[in-house]
Assembly symmetry: C3
Homo-oligomer: 127 residues x 3
């Protein structure tokens, strides 16, 4: 399923981009490893990356299982919503942590939908 | 393999539940983003989630590979032990971090067993 | 693909080893749960594990997708470079956080190569 693979790799690249941005923030705000605290702006970049890690571990399995039971042309676009939601989350969080909600919902909602589609597919296939 | 998919999605949902509980703890103990420290009770909920993230990244690949080489009716129940172990880990940790050991072992042991079964399957298939 | 499964399980075991080492460092440097800060040497072990978690979530999907489109005898050795890179990262970081760069590059570069191979495979398969 090349479209599913493509969206998966884009999600990996998006996360890699955040890893690079945290590295840059480490230099800019002079937060020396192993510390991850001490500068509020660095912590925003760091938390964006950490939260994306937490979301990615849910998104990927749910995305793959949903794509196993439903057509890729339905599932791949849900993955694109996740990808865009994560960008909005980053932009919102770095500006002001209180404005991270929209991006968060736009990336958490696809996960919930994919889990529901996966559960429906797996249970239907058992019956 | 719908049973393997079902347990996978339950593990994702369990982790999602922990994400939600950390969000609630953030409000209750007034730990404002991007901070993740400053209140011992918040930190317990946060560490439960983080530790589950670390365990999930080992559980899922090992679970899938073991299920590739062995019957799902053996492997899926091992996944259920993991799911229950994580609940006990949460309950123990939040009450008192020193009482997290039983739940930890009940969720780490399935990972070790699944890795061993996966290695046995892969090596047998090479020979 | 038993070789791909084998390298995947070795990456899981390598991460499990880091989890165990962080547990040992927690005892040795007397950093009590839920704290993850307070001792610079503990924090080095902890950061090695956290960074490996972040890298593993990128490595595994990219590794699996690349192995779907290209021969395992090309892809599995790239996984071995990742495994060695992570060991060098650990050794370098624990000695001195500034000497973590070589190991980091040796484990990040395989991820980039695997993502590129996966993208090439998926896009070629669409055309």
């Amino acid at each position: 399923m090349p479209w599913i693979d493509l969206v998966t790799l884009l999600a990996v690249l998006e996360f890699l981009g955040m890893v690079v941005l945290v590295g840059r923030a480490r230099v800019r705000y002079q937060v020396r490893a192993p510390a991850t605290t001490g500068n509020e702006h660095f912590e925003r970049w760091f938390r964006v990356q950490q939260n994306t890690l937490e979301t990615l571990i849910m998104f990927l399995p749910a995305f793959w299982i949903a794509a196993h039971y439903w057509p890729a042309m339905w599932i791949a676009p849900i993955g694109l919503v996740y990808l865009v939601g994560r960008v909005l989350y980053l932009v919102g969080y770095v500006r002001d942590p209180r404005s991270r909600t929209l991006g968060y919902l736009l990336s958490a909602l696809p996960v919930v939908v994919l889990v529901a589609l996966g559960l429906a597919g797996a249970i239907r296939s058992m019956l």
